[in-house]
Symmetry: D2
Subunit: 343 residues, 4 copies
């Protein structure tokens, strides 16, 4: 029998029981649709508690939408978004950013998934030249697609570079909880306080069912967002069920517990793998993912029992993600299986 939990992705996990309870808790009577209800107001106030009173926050269904609509709100069609070449918006959203915004994305190679000011500077040119797209947004992913975490000062440097040039800094925070937990910082400390302008705040991968928030730290940037959300087909009629997910995740810092747990499981996984011959960890394990180079012939064998995604077929690198519900036993059994299979 296959194990009930894999290391394929944190979105392969189910919903935390508290989130399910929260859905039931709001399921009373009628409330006005499309976000004009007390549950949504309450969830919004939780975001304000974490990020400051003067924010604008909007709920959407998934991370692709949070990212693309954030970018739409920040750009004109002739502008451009600078991102890492491994960025989810560049690689994994089937051209949704280009389609939604009309903009070009400018992909930059990175060593460890992180953009640097030096790299961005090289992509910043042609300013004012009508033949060239005009860079308007730097978009980074935190935690990154390869499981690393930007240090606050790294973000600050990018934000300063952006702001000096009338650009914006957007963060794809599909795993912002994991990043904050990893840094031991508050959510605000590692986003708003270091200059982030707009944050895609992820809940789905951290125990939610399907809910993400877009947070504008300067509400002026958000004036038109409600229209972009609706035109972007992301306005939930029964909004209370998105709100309820955030309610559950903020209650008793469930988001932090979940994130810490999955991060810790990734550390355990890394540790347990450390003495498996032929396994080489290729990126620092700073959040909930482990990227390992393994013999390519072993991959199909491992996949027979555990589903996961090859990350870089040419380099024979695979991605193993831990979730809020990964157990120590899961990790140990998995590493056992890896060890036996590779032997």
């Amino acid at each position: 029998m296959k194990p009930s939990r894999s290391f394929a992705s944190d979105n392969n996990a189910g919903v935390h029981p508290e989130v399910l309870k929260s859905l039931a808790a709001v399921n009373e009577g009628h409330v006005v649709g499309y976000g004009d209800d007390p549950y949504t107001a309450s969830a919004e106030s939780l975001f304000r508690r974490h990020f400051g009173a003067d924010i604008a926050v909007f709920f959407v269904f998934n991370g692709t939408a949070a990212n693309c609509l954030s970018l739409k709100a920040l750009t004109k069609t002739y502008e451009a978004v600078i991102c890492a070449e491994a960025a989810h918006i560049y690689v994994d959203e089937c051209g949704a950013p280009e389609k939604m915004t009309g903009c070009k994305l400018i992909p930059l190679p990175t060593r460890d998934g992180k953009l640097t000011v030096d790299a961005v500077r090289k992509a910043y040119h042609g300013i004012g030249d009508q033949h060239h797209v005009q860079p308007r947004v730097i978009s980074i992913t935190q935690a990154t697609e390869v499981g690393t975490v930007y240090r606050p000062n790294e973000i600050k440097a990018l934000a300063e570079f952006a702001h000096e040039r009338q650009m914006f800094l957007h963060v794809d925070g599909a795993r912002i909880g994991n990043a904050a937990a990893s840094l031991g910082k508050g959510l605000r400390e590692c986003t708003r306080d270091v200059g982030v302008d707009v944050l895609s705040f992820g809940a789905t991968k951290n125990g939610g069912m399907g809910a993400e928030a877009v947070i504008f730290f300067n509400p002026d940037l958000a004036k038109e967002f409600k229209f972009y959300r609706k035109q972007g087909m992301q306005l939930a009629s029964k909004m209370r069920y998105l709100a309820a997910q955030f309610e559950a995740l903020f209650k008793d810092d469930l988001w932090l517990k979940n994130a810490r747990h999955s991060n810790r499981m990734a550390q355990l996984l890394k540790r347990e793998l450390s003495d498996v011959p032929d396994v080489r960890i290729v990126y620092p394990v700073e959040a909930n993912g482990v990227f390992a180079r393994i013999p390519s012939r072993s991959i199909p064998k491992l996949l027979k029992r555990y589903f996961f995604y090859p990350w870089d077929i040419e380099q024979s690198v695979v991605r193993w993600m831990c979730s809020w519900d990964t157990t120590e036993d899961d990790v140990k059994k998995f590493v056992d299986f890896v060890r036996r299979t590779l032997a």
Copy 2:
């Protein structure tokens, strides 16, 4: 104290308890994301049971997406969609259809919310002329935005008109359950069997939480849909929780029970209103909505206690919708209040 249920919209209602149970029932262990899981496969098979084995079905988050992505799959940017001028896609989706498809929508006036072949014929011109958009889709809403229901032969006539011209017939079925219940027909009988090409199948307004399906009766039309869904920001990572909603609604024909119930409540509401002076029902009550002309000065008074939407301010027409959870007592108390307020 305000009543806990209003007549504002069927999406102001909560989620049917069976749907909540169904969400919990699928919340076990890990499954592959993005729809490649057994729960999604199972829900798809229920659609096949109802609509035929040779369909293609896709789940999305909401009705706007179901409509716009259906239209995207059927059109090129220079084509056009013919619809009623009261159509949700024309009036209530903030330009999402135009933005997503690039197409023009051609709005036609109607008497009772229903397009007719005669009306559509007048909008069908300029064919082959490079200066003009080329009509490619007729899109109708079933039940309509004004609570009427197309007869199967009316749909058939539109479908034939469309197919003779290489056009498609799309149905916005946000309330397809109410229509089928009203007609006393099976879901397939009043859609596929009368020539519908693509159906936006609504669950949210009929007891669901937030799930709609796009059904292609000719799978050839669906070949690219998975890409359009992803690029349209509507691919759920934890798809099982959309699937579970359909599972619940199809089980023991819950969809039909809910639809019949809300339709019956609308009939009751109509009946109870029949002897209220100054209330005039302006459209046939064939689904779960009642549209009434009432003295305009009474509207603010009614709104103090019951939230609902003015439908046509100039004509002083209001819309009252019944839901799966509307009770006879709700209706009676509401009509009592209307009677007293208008007196």
Copy 3:
């Protein structure tokens, strides 16, 4: 033998000889491409002389582009453009406005091709409501598609309505010369001075080869236009040959002579037709077009000798346009032929 000049359209005419000469006159040596040349600067200064020093003006290839890029510069994707249902942007541009801007166009019926404040007011609603597109531009055509001409005070009223609501007034001036000539006003008097914000200034139909200008009377609105023009595929590399056309048309008021002439030919055509039985002029002849109801069976007979466009097949109305090169003899021979054919 067919006559060498028809009454089909002012764009069926050739290029005024002075325009051809002007093209040759700028054909000396190299100049920097894309508009950074002295000929373009000189042509721009002619626009400033006519419309004021503080304008921003851009040259594009054709009228569709002038219109669509004007609208693009004024709107966000969730906004809407109010126009007459016979407007060129609504009927004759194959959905280019929707594709370029993402916006919905809101078509209003008119009696004589002209929008009125009353009509526009009815289309101005749903403001601030996220479900609805937000009207941002009123676009009118001057002279209109049916050969009528807005009076300055009519334009002023529309401009005031627009500006009170943070909207803009755009004028499709494909035949702005004919309108100014008809009104006996200067170009500025009947546009900028009565509140127009952006003008598509037509040269092609008035003796040019293929050149239109977009004029912003508030340069702040034009800040991004150079990028929209390039992204809209309308930046000419050899811009001097667009500029030269304007140079010729402004020299010795050639634009005005051409426009007056074609207007006068339309008056002559109207007069000559006045005693032809079975011909009824259906719109006031105020510019260079004559719209006539004629027996439908006569249309194919007329078309054998003279190419023109049926305007409204159902009403058996045809459109006859006069050009800068139409002669009195052309008119008389044409009316003779009409008279004989209808007899």
Copy 4:
């Protein structure tokens, strides 16, 4: 006094006198607008003579449009276009391809401006995966942006790679004449006969005023192009003046004379530069452009007298283009000036 001709760009040159004459030659009487005229038909037949009877050909205003509309005709929004990272469509069209098509462009580094099958193969992945854009077009530039020319067999290899995968090969032929002249091949031999599907055929840079053609070698691909051209704002009303330019360029092989001449001038320029110290030619001179690394401090000095574009500021590489009207004397005086300036 500044010299009347520079080496900035072939589009800084004027119009060949035969082209001007040709414009005058078609300026007789009225013809039907929008391409339904005998001049357009005649020009189209010249393309058929060169490229085969069974092609579809369309005229547009400029190269950006020829490229973007070609790509639009070949793609769906979720697809992708593979191109060189120096491609005009990627770098110099202000995001027009992304805006028009909705597609992502996938840029590949090259050694000499040319894509290779090996490079393209690496970018061809994620096929069928809904998360990824789907490569549909390989787009190459001939002659390339760095003045090199694909050999026919290089194009054939790319075409075969494309066709084996249901992809298309598009050629941006802004300088296709220069390439054909360089190869000593017929236009058809180096495009259609080696597998090109769609060609942007450039006239503007080779003595024209402003006209490019889009040629589909499989007319089935062109069925919708007339609508895309109109919706793309590129349908000329007075089409005869675009047609006339092609008429002139094909007459007595003017296109070839012009191309050969500018190529020869580039060879002369290269030769003359060969003994100038501190000038290093960095790409093979195979068409009409010379790319040279020169001391960066000399660039501003040269620009005082001759306008041209720095190509790569970091590498201190400049671009010098020859035109149909460049003279030997121009070249010699320019090289003299370079020599003196660098000394």
